[in-house]
């Protein structure tokens, strides 16, 4: 993998831009895909949001000043894109965000790209009930296995706050699962 600084420089120069962008996509596509997928759940929606995320990254790379790491800047864009997508979707369907989350989790059962067992389905339903911030932190820590320091940079929250948020999320999920059993 080429150094981040070189990659950013190449992304900003017209003659090296296309190749560098290809490298950028190939480096981050899977990580960002799973990050978005766990927010929007549906594969096709994820594909749309992921492509829009990369397009936004490409369009705004000139303005990237390097105050944060490239991956956290991209994760931030992906998170915002995914959340905006869900807001637009709930508006379009005329339902509240909470209702949409519940529907999305229920739809998993019939989703060909979900192969989870009953407990994994219950887990997704429990995650769907969490407030937005807890959901993001739980997914990023538990499934994506990001470090608190990384999550802190992406979500611009203190590490201490994140640990407490994660703990709360886990307790709520455990309680939901127990209730289901």
């Amino acid at each position: 993998m080429i150094a981040e600084k070189t990659l950013i420089e190449n992304l900003k120069q017209k003659d090296t831009q296309a190749k560098a962008f290809e490298v950028l996509i190939n480096t981050y596509k899977e990580r960002l895909y799973w990050h978005i997928r766990r927010i929007v759940l549906d594969h096709n929606d994820t594909d749309d949001v992921l492509q829009n995320t990369f397009i936004k990254v490409f369009r705004n790379i000139d303005g990237f000043k390097g105050n944060s790491k490239l991956y956290s800047w991209m994760y931030r864009i992906a998170t915002n894109e995914a959340l905006s997508f869900l807001k637009a979707k709930s508006r379009k369907l005329g339902v509240s965000n909470d209702e949409l989350q519940e529907r999305m989790a229920n739809n998993l059962q019939a989703d060909v790209y979900f192969e989870g067992d009953e407990i994994q389905l219950q887990l997704q339903k429990a995650i769907a009930l969490l407030p937005e911030k807890q959901k993001l932190v739980f997914n990023m820590k538990y499934f994506e296995e990001l470090k608190y320091e990384e999550i802190s940079e992406i979500l611009e929250t203190s590490v201490g706050g994140l640990k407490a948020t994660y703990h709360l999320a886990v307790k709520k999920i455990e309680a939901s699962l127990k209730q289901e059993q």
Partner: protein, 170 residues
């Protein structure tokens, strides 16, 4: 802070209280007993294989036909208003009710209508049909903004203010 309790003679290990919060939060956040480690989500076979080519193609396609807008949201309402005016004018003319004009509609009614009804236009579609040169920012805002406020806002929120090619009267 003294590490020795006042009367009892009990002591705590050095730095105990300094690390207490972090240690406790660490311990709490590691407790995930009984939760499945996998989420069951899967991806279509070969999905990632040509993703880079697909996105690059999309970027070059859009680059060539779309005017770049840093923020299109503020134009959304205006574009939607233009569309609403056209629809209203046409439908009014058709019914021959000349006594009822667009001015009779409360601004909030129009806003509510636009809020609640998805127009189904993407930002790119809006960018293509919207004549932005005829729009003033104050046309679509409830309160007047002065230049100084706008420049301050842009400086804080736009990545590269020079890219906007602003003409500022000193």
């Amino acid at each position: 802070m003294s590490e020795k309790s006042k009367n009892s003679g009990f002591r705590t290990p050095k730095g105990y209280f300094e690390h207490f919060t972090d240690d406790l939060l660490d311990k709490m956040s590691k407790e995930t007993s009984g939760l499945p480690k996998k989420d069951g989500l899967k991806v279509p076979e070969g999905y990632f294989d040509n993703l880079d080519k697909k996105i690059l193609k999309k970027v070059t396609e859009k680059e060539s036909k779309v005017i770049r807008l840093k923020s299109y949201k503020k134009y959304f309402l205006a574009a939607a208003s233009v569309a609403a005016i056209l629809i209203l004018v046409l439908s009014i003319q058709e019914r021959g009710q000349s006594s009822f004009t667009f001015d009779d509609l409360a601004r909030t009614d129009i806003e509510n209508y636009l809020e609640e009804n998805e127009l189904g236009l993407s930002s790119y579609e809006l960018a293509e049909v919207l004549l932005t040169e005829e729009l003033e920012v104050n046309d679509i805002l409830n309160s007047e903004l002065d230049d100084e406020n706008i420049i301050d806002y842009l400086e804080d929120n736009i990545d590269d203010i020079d890219e906007l090619n602003l003409e500022i009267d000193e």
